[in-house]
């Protein structure tokens, strides 16, 4: 299970680093969050007397949902305003 988590995390990081679209970047972040959730659960299975890790994973899922909602909303607004969802193309402040 830990290997799966590490694999997911790596996939997420690579997506974040390679993909240029903001939605894909958010997806990668979701993957990394889920990988960390898996880690929480796995470590709690192996070492935990109480179910702290599971609770923590639940909180992370809630926060991830909020984060995804806010992120997607921003992406939507940006897309409406700039007609693109690629952050690198939004270069108004670049000198």
């Amino acid at each position: 299970m830990l290997y799966l988590a590490a694999f997911l995390f790596s996939i997420g990081i690579i997506i974040v680093m390679v993909k240029r679209n903001a939605i894909m970047v958010l997806l990668g972040i979701e993957l990394m969050l889920n990988a960390s959730n898996l880690n929480f659960v796995a470590f709690n299975q192996q070492h935990g007397q109480q179910s702290d890790g599971h609770i923590f994973a639940l909180f992370v899922i809630i926060v991830a949902v909020c984060e995804a909602a806010v992120g997607l909303a921003i992406v939507l607004r940006v897309y409406k305003y700039y007609n693109t969802s690629v952050p690198d193309e939004i270069a108004d402040l670049k000198g």
């Binding site: 990081i13 974040v16 680093m17 240029r20 690198d88 270069a91």
Partner: protein, 637 residues
């Protein structure tokens, strides 16, 4: 109190003409009346104070005036002024003649375009001459000496529209420079011998230095130039291009007298040999001058050659050691020669006016004149009186001063002095001849060209100075007794005046000369010889000689210049260009290379550091991750 008054008078005499010069320089040229009155007034002040000085301090104990000038190292130069009886006389003479010339010029130069410059320069000229008379420092004296030359240059060339005037001015200036070059060398020698320029100190030294002959001869070179002695006298006849009053001033008081005065002043440094040269130069000059004067046709040129002859006489006398008599002759000569020039000016002025609108002829040529006795009585009387004085006729001042020289020469009683005596006697014969030749030609007989003209005498402002000067040509200027030259100027006991038979013989001699001139010039008036007319071709000879020398030397120097100096310079230039190219290459490759390399290095660094912040978000994340990984690896180990 007396000393203060004395100083004030001396400075008043000296500086009033200078003030006149500066005032006239500042005045606008149209204010002719103010210009004239200012310059006359200032000259009057100068003359009056000079006369007061003369009458009050004659034979008095006179204290020199010390003025510090400048110092080089430990040698301090003073601009001392010193007054002796001689300089008092000269001072009064210069101021007085200059005043009369100023007054005469009002009439003579009336209507001239450059009246302002003319009067300013007259004042300056007078100032310079008074400076020569007063200064007790040879360097100061030399400065005034040069200034006299400069101002005479401007005055001779006053008529700027005449090219001859410019040429004559240049000639006078250059010939004076030749003499002054010698004077300058003499000054250096004097400094080397005495280590001072103070005349009082120089003259009080009694030891004879081996170089003294050379030094005194060099000084005499300056005198030859300034006092128009052989062989540099040729500028003086040419200087007649200047206005006639200027000629009068130059001949009587300011310029040519400077040389004679300097000789008298520096007499004590002249050695026996040098004095012999001086005497012989004077002898040649007086002979050439008298003979040349005999055959000129231009009235002013006759007078010029007569001045040369008289100056030669003075220099001869000084060379024979007869100082006081020479100075007396300078004094009397100043009056009668100024009078001769000014009355010649009267004549030419009137003729010039009369010929206006009539036929044109040379107003200075005596062959055109004649019979002016009745038409211009003032000029006639003045010319007759001053001419008689020049000829040395008894009852006139010239007679007395010539007698003084003759008798002093007679007292020497050696072979040289007998030779000089013969020369002077024959020159005085010639003097009588040319003087009366002029008088016969101008004032007697029939008017030749000018007969039909209506001639009027000029205004009183021109006639008055001439009459005053003519009056001063009489004997009482020298002494009360018309046959005794021992008066207020000559009191020296060495001069014997009791040799009545010499006086008697000279009177007979002069009467004979007058008669000869009557027969020679009243009967067949026009014969002259070209050798005499050209004054023995000395001018042409000098021109040819110096011209050839100059041409040869200029060709040689041009050759040297072209073949050696130019080539050396070219070689140097090539070497310089090669060196410049080499240094340019070094600059380009090494210096510029280093600077550009540093700049490129900095640019590279900038590019590298800039590349981290290229605005690419993925790259930021990559680097952040990279850093975190490194951090983790580092913490885990």
């Amino acid at each position: 109190m007396e000393k203060k008054l004395f100083d004030a008078l001396v400075f008043l005499t000296l500086l009033a003409p200078l003030v006149s010069f500066f005032t006239l320089c500042c005045l606008p040229r149209n204010y002719i009346k103010i210009i004239l009155s200012a310059s006359i007034f200032l000259m009057l002040i100068s003359t009056l104070s000079a006369l007061v000085l003369l009458f009050n301090f004659w034979n008095g104990a006179i204290i020199p005036i010390h003025l510090n000038w400048f110092s080089i190292g430990t040698n301090s130069f003073t601009a001392d002024l010193a007054l002796s009886n001689r300089s008092l006389v000269m001072l009064a003479l210069v101021a007085f003649i200059s005043l009369l010339v100023h007054v005469f010029s009002i009439g003579y130069m009336g209507g001239d375009r450059d009246l302002k410059r003319y009067f300013a320069m007259l004042g300056f000229f007078t100032f310079c001459m008074q400076g020569i008379v007063l200064s007790d420092n040879l360097l100061l004296l030399f400065m005034f000496w040069e200034l006299v030359g400069f101002s005479s240059y401007l005055l001779i060339g006053h008529r700027t529209i005449r090219p001859e005037a410019g040429r004559a001015a240049k000639k006078a200036f250059l010939l004076n420079r030749i003499g002054d070059a010698g004077f300058m060398v003499g000054l250096m020698m004097i400094w080397a011998i005495y280590e001072t320029f103070s005349l009082t100190q120089i003259l009080s030294t009694s030891t004879v230095h081996p170089w003294q002959t050379a030094a005194s001869l060099c000084i005499f070179c300056g005198v030859i130039g300034k006092s128009a002695q052989f062989p540099l006298f040729t500028w003086l006849p040419d200087a007649m291009e200047g206005p006639t009053p200027v000629s009068a001033l130059i001949h009587a008081a300011t310029m040519v007298a400077a040389g004679v005065y300097l000789l008298v002043r520096l007499f004590h440094i002249f050695t026996e040999d040098a004095l012999l040269v001086v005497a012989v130069t004077g002898m040649i000059t007086t002979l050439i001058g008298a003979m040349a004067a005999l055959s000129q046709h231009d009235i002013k040129k006759i007078l010029a050659y007569s001045t040369i002859s008289q100056l030669g006489l003075m220099v001869l006398a000084i060379g024979m050691g007869i100082l006081d008599a020479a100075l007396l002759h300078l004094f009397t000569h100043a009056f009668f020669k100024a009078c001769l020039f000014l009355s010649a000016g009267l004549v030419t002025h009137s003729l010039h006016k009369a010929q206006k609108g009539q036929q044109h002829f040379d107003v200075q040529d005596i062959r055109n004149m004649g019979g002016l006795r009745k038409k211009m009585p003032t000029a006639f009387i003045a010319f007759l009186l001053s001419g008689a004085s020049l000829a040395g006729i008894p009852f006139f001042s010239g007679f007395l001063s010539k007698e003084a020289i003759l008798i002093a020469l007679y007292m020497h009683n050696n072979i040289l002095s007998w030779l000089m005596l013969v020369v002077i006697v024959s020159v005085s014969f010639l003097t009588v001849l040319y003087t009366f030749r002029m008088i016969w030609f101008i004032f007697f007989g029939e008017g030749r060209v000018i007969k039909p003209l209506k001639i009027e005498e000029p205004s009183w402002i021109m006639r008055l100075p001439v009459l005053i000067l003519a009056f001063c040509s009489l004997w009482f200027l020298v002494s009360r007794n018309p046959f005794d030259f021992k008066g207020w100027m000559l009191t020296n006991e060495n001069h014997h005046s009791d040799l009545l038979w010499i006086t008697f013989i000279s009177i007979l001699w002069i009467v004979a000369a007058v008669l000869v001139s009557w027969y020679a010039f009243r009967k067949n008036p026009f014969k002259t010889h070209h050798i005499l007319r050209k004054s023995f071709y000395i001018d042409e000879g000098l021109t040819a000689f110096f011209g050839t020398v100059t041409r040869i030397s200029s060709r040689t120097t041009a050759f040297i210049d072209r073949s050696w100096i130019d080539k050396t310079i070219h070689g140097l230039v090539y070497a310089q260009v090669v060196v410049a190219h080499f240094t340019g290459w070094i600059d380009h490759v090494f210096v510029d290379g280093t600077v550009n390399g540093v700049a490129r290095l900095a640019g590279l660094g900038g590019k590298i550091t800039r590349s981290f912040q290229g605005g690419n978000i993925q790259l930021y994340i990559f680097w952040a991750l990279f850093a975190i990984i490194i951090f983790i690896i580092w913490t885990l180990n």
